[in-house]
């Protein structure tokens, strides 16, 4: 009740002057006729024909679903995709000042007196007809290079993990905005009301066991109605927390309880018109439906052995990246709109060559298997797969450097991600970095551009999907973003 009152006060303050000509009576009347009008008009009816929940897309979509394989901690582009022979040639020599030109560093290496360049200790090979360079660490991903679109010129604004992940997921470095999946759920609605429209799965990397932590706000709904928040699937006994009936409660009892609770909530909604109450009603109902649909989808026992062969041995171990990839495919088959995986442990400041091998073992086969599996099932037709981290890593060494070991610091000025599937040109490499891999030399793609492109593929004009909150219309791309038309098929 307190929050509601605050909301009302908030409304009065912000909207008073603009509505003053109509007089307070007008406001009172409007609130009587349509309680929702007190909360901006996001939920009730869109005020300018642009906004809506579950409204048809703005134009014909190429993709209907997304799997985002987020590599948390920032994988090094130099060991995986961005082949820079110059770094091997100049191994140990200082990064020329003319390349860095005083650009900012993190606190972890800004104290370093020297910035010795370090070449990849892993070999590269060109793959497929497209001739894309992929390192020997990722043989499976190399094998599907002709299905992938590499963007080598990604760049971001943040230089540390949390702001950078937050920036990628919500379009803002400061926490509090809705995540991409929430925006899509809000804009496009759900195709399967028995499963969460925005599903999230986490896995720990074997490269660095104590990876950067991730917070649930990264898949949070921000100021959007809470039914759009991401739902985390866990590998433990309860895949989704608090879903199962408490011991001793039968399903019938639960149904009765929900029916009566629903009635009470509806009465409250009639009286107050708070959209969060409507959200709550639908959440209770969804959780009830999910009691059967979730165990069904996470139960891999009906998968043929061949699936596990494709995704690799780890796919049988719940909670691994590989198992999550299998689950992602199963959720997509059930028309879940946005499946987000986070794989942690890519933050290799030291001991990079050993750690990255572990990480690549985790993700190489399952990532490639997922693309292959979606493709042969015809799901890649309208599913978009994205693979990438929050920023890149430096061309120069951090910490101890020997023949065997070295490390790389955070580098927001260029990194590589790849996409595959609906609406994206396969077998393409877009953008390029300079010979040091320090700056972008061709076709830069900002995080907001990436987000705009992602939304474009789903039939959304990123400038039109907005939500009015605290007197301002917010969007995922803030006031930025250009669709990268060159990579669209």
């Amino acid at each position: 009740m307190k929050e509601l009152n605050e909301h009302l006060l908030n409304y009065t303050r912000r909207e008073f002057l603009s509505k003053a000509s109509l007089g307070l009576g007008g406001i009172a009347l409007a609130s009587l006729l349509n309680p929702g009008s007190m909360y901006g008009s996001n939920l009730m009816k869109d005020e300018n024909g642009l906004i809506g929940t579950g409204k048809a897309p703005h134009f014909a979509p190429k993709a209907k679903r997304v799997i985002y394989l987020f590599q948390s901690g920032a994988p090094s582009q130099f060991e995986l995709f961005d082949y820079k022979p110059l770094l091997n040639k100049m191994d140990g020599k200082d990064l020329p000042d003319s390349v860095r030109q005083g650009q900012r560093l993190t606190g972890m290496t800004s104290g370093q007196r020297k910035f010795p360049l370090v070449g990849s200790r892993f070999n590269f090979k060109q793959h497929g007809q497209s001739g894309a360079y992929v390192s020997e660490l990722l043989p499976h991903i190399g094998g599907i290079a002709d299905d992938l679109c590499f963007i080598k010129s990604m760049h971001t604004e943040a230089i540390n993990h949390d702001p950078a992940v937050t920036f990628f997921q919500t379009g803002s470095q400061q926490p509090g905005r809705p995540s991409i999946g929430s925006w899509l759920s809000y804009g496009l609605g759900s195709d399967n009301e028995n499963l969460p429209n925005f599903s999230v799965m986490l896995s720990r990397g074997s490269g660095l066991k104590t990876g950067q932590p991730l917070y649930s706000r990264l898949w949070g709904n921000g100021f959007l109605p809470s039914l759009h928040q991401g739902v985390q699937f866990r590998s433990a006994k309860d895949p989704v927390l608090y879903l199962n009936n408490p011991e001793g409660m039968s399903s019938l009892n639960k149904r009765n309880l929900l029916d009566h609770l629903g009635k009470l909530n509806e009465m409250q909604y009639e009286a107050m018109g708070d959209p969060e109450i409507a959200t709550r009603i639908s959440q209770y109902e969804m959780s009830y439906r999910m009691q059967t649909s979730v165990p069904e989808v996470v139960d891999l026992s009906d998968e043929p052995e061949e699936t596990f062969e494709l995704y690799g041995p780890e796919s049988k171990i719940p909670g691994t990246y590989a198992a999550n990839c299998v689950l992602a495919r199963r959720l997509i088959e059930k028309d879940v709109k946005f499946v987000q995986l986070y794989h942690m442990g890519w933050d290799q400041h030291q001991n990079l060559p050993t750690a990255i091998q572990g990480q690549c073992r985790d993700v190489d086969q399952p990532s490639a298997a997922l693309v292959k599996d979606l493709k042969r099932r015809g799901l890649l037709e309208d599913t978009l797969v994205i693979w990438g981290g929050e920023f890149g890593r430096t061309a120069y060494n951090q910490g101890k450097m020997t023949k065997e070991t070295y490390g790389r610091d955070h580098h927001p000025r260029c990194f590589t991600i790849w996409m595959a599937g609906a609406g994206v040109k396969p077998g393409m490499t877009y953008g390029a970095t300079d010979d040091f891999g320090y700056n972008i030399s061709e076709n830069p793609v900002h995080v907001h551009d990436f987000q705009a492109t992602l939304m474009h593929l789903l039939g959304i004009d990123h400038e039109k999907l907005v939500f009015k909150h605290q007197g301002r219309r917010f969007r995922l791309t803030d006031v930025h973003g250009h669709v990268v038309k060159d990579i669209l098929s």
Binding site: A60, R376, R377, G378, K485, D486
Partner: protein, 441 residues
């Protein structure tokens, strides 16, 4: 060495001196009009001498410059004779001041003011083009991104809408109706085709085309065009090259031209011309299906959505948790023209149902994966002329069933994983349809 040309080219420099002298004489005369003294009078006479001598020299140099040619005859005529008149009136003004012929003097000052303005204007028109002065005031100059064309793709003419604008911006100031350096006029296609003093500038081989050569020479080269001002951008030379390679046609529209990736990207990024083919759903026009029909179908277990706000075609699949029946498909016939995506994967759809599905003439994406359909059933769908993607993975379809596929002219992708199709069946299909993407797992 050509002295007369050298002095001729000094005309634009020299000409400003008498303008200044004469103007200051007029202004001083006005300023001192009631308090003239012998000293002031002497100064004015001195300035008038400078003005008169200057205008004679300027007129003389102007005559020499005109000998070079390349100017619009009409404008040149007026500039030449008004310029000479200015010199004559300047002498008259000096004489009348010296002789204190007040009436003649006032007449000549008034005449001078008018002459200076008119002659100056015509001179400016000669060097910069007749619309130079007023162009910034014209309405069509106001838009920020003037490159974006506000017309449908099929009415965009390559020369007129793409090539001509950058010629107008960067070449025309020296090659127009008024001024034709090198005898070249680029104001219209007809003039461009004729070429300049050295003959034609277009050639079927772009590398022998003088026009393309001149704008792509090293900028230090004496022959590089434009000699001053902003050179053509790389994108502009690419577009020019493309236009010449396509035969330098004046009327060809953009959709009839052969395109390459570079040109496509430039057109998209700089002109916002999207030449990627439109999705089928947006290419056909159809009356929207009535709300009642749609809600009726939804009540019968179908999940129906519009594929695009720019189209009335529909995407249909059985609702989650609804068991598909043949009855449902009969209901769906009410929307047979509107359904363009139909997802029946993992349902009990059978051969008999496929007969009905063959009536959905606007189907582009059909999913029959994981079903009991057979080769016989698949033969019905050969009537689906618009089908682009067919998913029959995890069925018992064999090589025989693929015969029906061969009739599908627009088919782009087929999913054949977990079927009884043999490698030889696949290669036969591929030979039959080289452009078809076959995904067999």
């Amino acid at each position: 060495m050509n002295l007369s040309e050298f002095f001729g080219r000094l005309h634009p420099l020299i000409v400003h001196l008498p303008i200044g002298f004469l103007m200051i004489a007029i202004l001083l005369e006005f300023y001192f009009r009631n308090k003239m003294s012998p000293g002031k009078r002497k100064s004015i006479i001195f300035i008038l001498v400078l003005g008169a001598v200057g205008s004679i020299i300027a007129a003389l140099f102007g005559w020499l410059l005109a000998e070079e040619g390349g100017f619009n005859e009409d404008t040149l005529f007026w500039h030449r004779w008004l310029g000479i008149s200015t010199a004559v009136i300047a002498i008259l003004a000096l004489w009348s001041k010296y002789k204190s012929q007040r009436k003649v003097y006032i007449f000549s000052l008034v005449a001078l003011s008018a002459l200076l303005m008119l002659t100056g204007h015509f001179g400016g028109s000669l060097t910069h083009g007749s619309d130079y002065l007023l162009q910034p005031l014209m309405a069509d100059n106001s838009s920020v991104n003037s490159k974006e064309l506000d017309k449908p793709n099929d009415s965009i003419v390559v020369f007129h809408d793409i090539v001509k604008p950058f010629i107008d911006a960067k070449c025309i100031s020296c090659h127009n109706d008024d001024k034709q350096n090198g005898g070249l006029n680029l104001s219209t296609f007809e003039h461009l085709e004729i070429g300049g003093d050295n003959g034609k500038i277009l050639h079927s081989n772009v590398w022998e085309s003088e026009f393309f050569r001149r704008v792509t020479l090293p900028q230090e080269s004496e022959k590089f065009m434009p000699p001053n001002g902003i050179p053509l951008t790389y994108n502009e030379t690419t577009l020019l090259k493309w236009w010449i390679e396509n035969g330098a046609e004046p009327e060809t529209s953009i959709i009839d031209s052969k395109l390459n990736d570079a040109v496509k990207n430039i057109l998209l990024n700089e002109y916002n011309i999207d030449l990627t083919p439109k999705p089928f759903a947006e290419s056909i026009t159809l009356q929207a299906l009535s709300e009642t029909v749609i809600s009726n179908l939804e009540n019968k277990g179908w999940s129906i959505s519009v594929v695009s706000p720019n189209s009335n075609l529909l995407d249909a699949s059985p609702k989650n948790g609804v068991k598909f029946t043949s009855e449902m498909l009969k209901d769906l016939l009410a929307a047979k023209k509107h359904i363009t995506w139909l997802k029946l994967g993992n349902t009990s759809v059978n051969n008999e149902d496929l007969k009905r599905i063959s009536q959905f003439e606007n189907l582009t994406d059909l999913r029959l994966n994981d079903t009991k359909i057979t080769d016989e059933g698949l033969s019905h769908i050969s009537k689906l002329n618009n089908l682009e993607a067919l998913n029959i993975y995890d069925t018992t379809i064999s090589d025989e069933g693929l015969n029906a596929i061969k009739a599908l002219k627009k088919l782009k992708r087929i999913y054949l994983w977990k079927t009884k199709v043999t490698p030889s069946g696949i290669s036969e299909l591929q030979d039959n349809k080289p452009k078809l993407t076959i995904i067999s797992g």
